[in-house]
């Protein structure tokens, strides 16, 4: 018999069977490709429905939406106590900032939101000017506007700030300063100059080896030791500096990870073209290294944003502190007040962090130039 074969007629094109296409197939393929994973899907699904239902029941169905005070919220079987949030929300946003001066905070929020949007949305032009405004001019304006005591503005000391205002001041300052300081520390640690590398390594390892709570305590109490006698910097300023330094040490290690992933050839090509050190780092190495570690950087931002809540331990009323202080209000103290407050707070933190996470994924996709190493 011959092994030669020649096809004389084309095999017919047939429609795919229902096990391959259609919603039943998709459902089956995703949730129960094997009997075991089918069981797992059902168990997890049931659990999920139960959790969601419990939350929904508490947050909406049994919840109190309108009430003058705690009486309704304290009733047997009552769910979330939303009127409490409604009454306290402005305090969460402005802290103890005097009512008549809240417009100053509004201006700060508004300028920040507008120029941040300008920076983050790629389609909007004038990125350079926007960056100068956001990173240089805006902090100066914010400082004088919030603190006052000059230009005819009444002085509002930082102990009167609070809530979202303090959380954002802390988080944004720490986030914005941690990147450049982290870059310098990472470069320093990898430097061939032994003294520089030793100092940077020492700083990073010491700061990373101490819990943030302790850094905050030490910043609050030990700073004066480094100052001339009688000088004791502002409490909030000390917390800002402590958080920023702490964040920088973490950032430095993330960025160093990125630097390590850059092949030696990139350095050699830059040097062969005559680029001096800082231009090589700024134009070739850093852009690539930072791009690689965007997920790590944003992870740090998110962690940092939430960690600012630790400043309550040194007596600063950030968002968490303000929310908790509201629980003691005799007008509202009820069985559900705490739960409702924490639940709302969790959602606020989550919205910020989820926003950061999604934005970083968007930027990662945008920066992808098709080069996979």
């Amino acid at each position: 018999m011959s092994i030669a074969f020649v096809r004389t007629a084309d095999a017919p094109l047939l429609p795919a069977p229902p096990t391959v296409v259609g919603w039943q197939a998709a459902l089956r393929h995703r949730f129960m490709p094997t009997p075991l994973s089918g069981v797992a899907s059902i168990v997890v699904g049931t659990l999920l429905v139960w959790v969601l239902w419990t939350i929904l029941d508490w947050a909406l169905i049994r919840a109190v939406f309108v009430a003058p005070d705690r009486v309704l919220c304290n009733a047997e079987g009552a769910g979330a106590c939303w009127p409490f949030i409604g009454e306290k929300l402005l305090q969460w946003v402005y802290g103890f900032y005097p009512h008549s001066e809240r417009w100053r905070v509004n201006i700060v929020y508004l300028m920040g939101a507008v120029s941040l949007a300008g920076l983050l949305i790629p389609r909007i032009p004038w990125k350079g000017w926007n960056a100068i405004f956001f990173f240089v001019i805006y902090p100066v304006i914010t400082f004088f506007l919030l603190l006052g005591g000059r230009f005819g503005l009444t002085y509002v000391e930082t102990s009167q700030w609070g809530g979202m205002l303090v959380t954002l001041v802390l988080a944004v300052t720490a986030i914005v300063t941690s990147v450049p300081i982290g870059i310098l520390l990472a470069l320093g640690r990898r430097s061939e100059m032994r003294v520089v590398s030793l100092l940077c390594t020492l700083f990073i390892e010491v700061v990373r080896g101490v819990p943030l709570v302790l850094v905050l305590f030490m910043a609050a109490n030990m700073f004066p030791l480094f100052m001339p006698p009688g000088v004791n910097p502002d409490k909030l300023l000390k917390a800002v500096i402590g958080t920023a330094l702490f964040a920088s040490a973490y950032m430095a290690e993330v960025i160093r990870g990125g630097l390590q992933a850059i092949p030696k050839g990139q350095y050699e090509a830059s040097q062969a073209l005559g680029l001096p050190y800082w231009k090589m780092m700024g134009l070739i190495v850093m852009p690539q290294a930072l791009k690689i570690v965007i997920p790590g950087i944003v992870n740090n931002f998110i962690g940092l944003f939430k960690d600012t809540s630790l400043v309550t331990v040194v007596g600063i009323f950030d968002l968490l502190g303000i929310v908790q202080s509201g629980f003691n209000d005799p007008k509202w103290a009820s069985a559900q007040t705490g739960n409702t407050g924490y639940f709302a707070l969790a959602m606020i933190y989550w919205v910020f962090c989820f926003g950061m996470s999604r934005y970083s994924m968007y930027i990662e996709r945008k920066l992808n130039t098709g080069h996979k190493r």
């Binding site: 990139q266 062969a272 073209l273 005559g274 680029l275 791009k291 130039t369």
Partner: protein, 248 residues
């Protein structure tokens, strides 16, 4: 001044060590302007190390290297000056993956030579046309074939208007059909009068364009001659052995 120097590259009794390992031993080499030199030798013989000393990607410990009249010492200004005049093409291209082909080409002229952007782009276009890929200017390196990437790398070096070009095995990471397109560009460059030092095992290329072939082994220059003599009548037994191996 520098440009009146007699030699493009001058190496006198150059020695270099990696730790205890004596990687370059008593290297003496004079390259005239416009001369084209091919360097070959077994793996690990120090070919890369030698040409990398010429633009100070490696530091020599002993002896003198003078490039276009500029002595290579610890003086950082001299190193910068030399690197401006010397272009280098690497085995693995080393293009900047986060920049487009055009940006790869204009980066150094703009930031090192302080050339206005429009002028740099016009020059880049000229060189991209010379290496026959003007249509790829707006792509990223990751979107090009190996041969195209290497031609971009050559164009990128040329954009600095170098007086000397160094090639370190520019075709050994390429598939056979791409080797040809890169070699064509290099032949064109050689015919344009560029001073070139090429580490390569492309012997046809050596025969066609080299003024001189240098054979290295164990960190030393073992034999040098004009290509015809070098390939027909190698003198040293080590050269004979090496040529037998690569020419079958």
């Amino acid at each position: 001044m520098a440009s009146n120097a007699q030699f493009a590259v001058e190496m006198k009794s150059v020695n270099k060590w990696y730790g205890q390992f004596h990687v370059l031993r008593d290297i003496n080499l004079e390259v005239k302007k416009g001369e084209r030199i091919v360097i070959c030798g077994p793996s690990g013989s120090g070919k890369s190390t030698m040409i990398r000393c010429i633009n100070r990607l490696e530091e020599h410990q002993n002896g003198d290297i003078v490039v276009d009249g500029i002595p290579l010492t610890a003086n950082l200004k001299n190193i910068d000056d030399v690197r401006r005049e010397v272009g280098m093409v690497f085995q693995h291209f080393n293009l900047f993956p986060h920049l487009t082909v055009m940006e790869n080409c204009t980066l150094a002229p703009i930031w090192v030579r302080k050339m206005p952007k429009a002028e740099a782009e016009a020059a880049a276009m000229k060189f991209l046309t010379r290496v026959k890929i003007p249509e790829q200017a707006q792509k990223y390196p990751g979107q090009l074939s190996g041969g195209q990437q290497q031609r971009v790398a050559i164009a990128r070096s040329l954009c600095m208007n170098p007086k000397i070009m160094l090639f370190d095995e520019p075709t050994s990471a390429l598939d056979p059909e791409m080797i040809k397109e890169v070699l064509e560009v290099m032949v064109d460059l050689a015919q344009g009068g560029m001073t070139m030092l090429c580490v390569t095992h492309e012997m046809a290329f050596a025969r066609q364009v080299a003024n001189r072939v240098i054979f290295m082994d164990q960190g030393q220059i073992v034999e040098e001659n004009e290509p015809n003599e070098f390939f027909k009548h190698p003198k040293s037994p080590r050269t004979k052995l090496f040529l037998e191996q690569i020419l079958h």
